[in-house]
């Protein structure tokens, strides 16, 4: 069953079709990879799903609800999380605060609760703090919990962004090149983490340039070129497709 479906989505930038009448569906609790050359429109697809940009036409159904036109924060609250290509952690905040920010519907974030119901907020914070520490333990950043996020290495910032995403408790995670710029040792750790997620009920869509990663973790692959899906199927089949080999890998 598809958790997310894009129907006839088109997005034009200055006359150039970044996404061209795209029909695509994503299976629940699977890892689907979106691959393709630079400029194929992969990140644009994420921005469209996210609500950061509006499509010129078409519909996006998430759990059978059309989400086109909703604000990015509304879409996030429906359960779509995003890992940015350039991580975007909150640099001048501690690692644990980064994670604590991500929990949804916190009473303490409504300004009158901390003032008039201090004890309630404190109790809630204690629970969130425990959960945040668990997540930091899960991604292996527990020793760094009080460091400023900007002082972490790039790979650690990606792990932190993933912990934040998990705290956010989204069902569908859009991961934009999670392994880019991360050292090989950290990549293994990241992949191990990502592979565990579908067993916890998460659906993953991943943009990835590293073909070994795609073969290792993806259940399904869409190959995108010039704003359209030109090939799809199991990872080995898509990567073995002569058309894909020609336009993408260059053999």
């Amino acid at each position: 069953m598809s958790i997310l479906e894009l129907k006839n989505i088109t997005k034009t930038f200055d006359g150039l079709k970044a996404v061209d009448s795209l029909f695509v569906g994503f299976e629940k609790e699977k890892i689907t990879a979106l691959i393709g050359p630079n400029g194929a429109g992969k990140t644009t697809v994420f921005n469209l799903i996210n609500g950061f940009i509006l499509p010129d036409s078409g519909e996006i159904y998430y759990k059978n609800q059309n989400i086109v036109g909703l604000k990015p924060w509304e879409i996030a609250n429906l359960g779509i999380g995003r890992l940015f290509q350039d991580v975007r952690v909150f640099g001048k905040m501690s690692v644990i605060d980064n994670v604590l920010c991500a929990f949804k519907n916190q009473k303490g974030e409504i300004f009158y609760y901390p003032i008039f119901q201090t004890w309630k907020v404190k109790r809630e914070e204690k629970i969130y703090k425990e959960k945040a520490l668990e997540l930091l333990d899960f991604v292996g950043l527990i020793d760094k919990k009080d460091d400023l996020a900007e002082n972490l290495s790039y790979g650690q910032q990606k792990l932190l962004a993933i912990a934040r995403l998990l705290a956010n408790d989204s069902d569908l995670l859009l991961l934009d090149e999670p392994t880019a710029g991360v050292n090989p040792k950290m990549i293994d750790k990241l992949l191990e983490l990502i592979q565990k997620l579908p067993t916890q009920g998460k659906t993953i869509i991943i943009i990835e340039h590293n073909m070994n990663v795609v073969i290792d973790i993806a259940d399904w692959v869409y190959f995108m070129n010039n704003g359209q899906i030109t090939s799809f199927g199991l990872p080995q089949d898509v990567l073995g497709d002569p058309e894909v080999k020609k336009t993408y890998i260059g053999i």
């Binding site: 996030a76 995003r82 905040m93 920010c101 300004f111 609760y113």
Partner: protein
């Protein structure tokens, strides 16, 4: 002794101003140049309510907070459609509009003539009409305000404001209605700024629009820039420093005509030095760029 008390009272007043401005500027990352307009509107609303309608001190104080919050919403809702420097320009425009209204609506505010004879704060049978009693009163009010602002800053609310400052898109992608939080932080700040306005009016017993000009907004902002923003201690240190500095100049035995200008020169020089060598201020976590 009264001279010393006077300085402490001014520190109390400016501490509330600086720490309330710290919420949008230091936490949310919205540079605002309209803080003096909330300060002034607070002073005028409570003064007019007390003198024209004979309403008591406490209800007038509450009404002025309410009025200032409303003005904060009026300013921030349209301004927040603009980003960065343009937001600041918009607050600057509102500051000038507010001043112009206070200055020219003579039938209501007496404009440039100002309002003399403002009654001393009076509640539960207590009258605050001496300098020592005003010091105690203003210290009590400032303590309450500082406590509330401290709680807000440390709370998940303050944490989220910081997250918006660090990366709004990221906060949005975590499901936070960032525009709503920006407006809330601005309105809360406006509400708090009304309180020192009421204190100032009651203390001076006279107000006129020239106390609430753009220069005043810039002065309050420079307290934060010099002290450091985004935490609690920075604006506290900044206030003490900025209020004491001109008093120290007083003892240099310079002619009066030079002193006023000297002050401006020193403030300007300090800000330039700080922005060049220590953009986060004396004790701040957030660098102005």
């Amino acid at each position: 002794m009264n001279y010393f008390f006077h300085i402490l009272i001014m520190i109390n007043i400016y501490m509330i101003l600086a720490l309330s401005l710290n919420i949008p500027v230091g936490y949310t990352g919205l540079l605002s140049l309209s803080h003096a307009s909330f300060y002034g509107v607070g002073a005028y609303i409570s003064t007019l309510l007390m003198m024209k309608l004979g309403i008591g001190f406490i209800p007038s104080l509450l009404f002025s907070i309410f009025g200032s919050v409303l003005l904060g919403l009026v300013i921030s809702i349209p301004s927040l459609r603009l980003k960065g420097d343009y937001f600041m320009l918009s607050t600057l425009a509102f500051q000038i509009v507010t001043f112009t209204i206070l200055y020219n609506w003579v039938s209501l505010t007496r404009g440039p003539y100002g309002i003399p004879g403002i009654p001393a704060p009076q509640f539960f049978g207590i009258i605050i009409d001496t300098i020592p009693s005003f010091l105690i009163f203003s210290s009590a009010v400032a303590s309450i305000c500082l406590y509330l602002l401290y709680i807000l800053g440390k709370s998940p609310f303050g944490r989220l404001l910081k997250a918006i400052r660090e990366d709004e898109l990221s906060a949005m992608s975590l499901g936070k209605n960032t525009v709503k939080f920006k407006i809330t932080s601005f309105a809360i700040s406006a509400g708090f700024a009304a309180i020192p306005g009421v204190l100032f009016a009651g203390y001076m017993t006279y107000i006129d629009p020239t106390s609430f000009t753009l220069e005043e907004s810039i002065f309050i902002l420079s307290i934060i820039i010099i002290g450091g923003s985004g935490n609690f201690l920075g604006p506290v240190l900044g206030t003490i420093f900025m209020i004491l500095l001109p008093e120290i100049l007083r003892f240099l035995a310079l002619p009066d005509s030079i002193i006023a200008n000297m002050r401006q020169i020193i403030y300007g020089f300090l800000i330039i030095l700080l922005l060049r060598f220590r953009p986060q201020g004396i004790k701040g976590e957030y660098k102005f760029q």
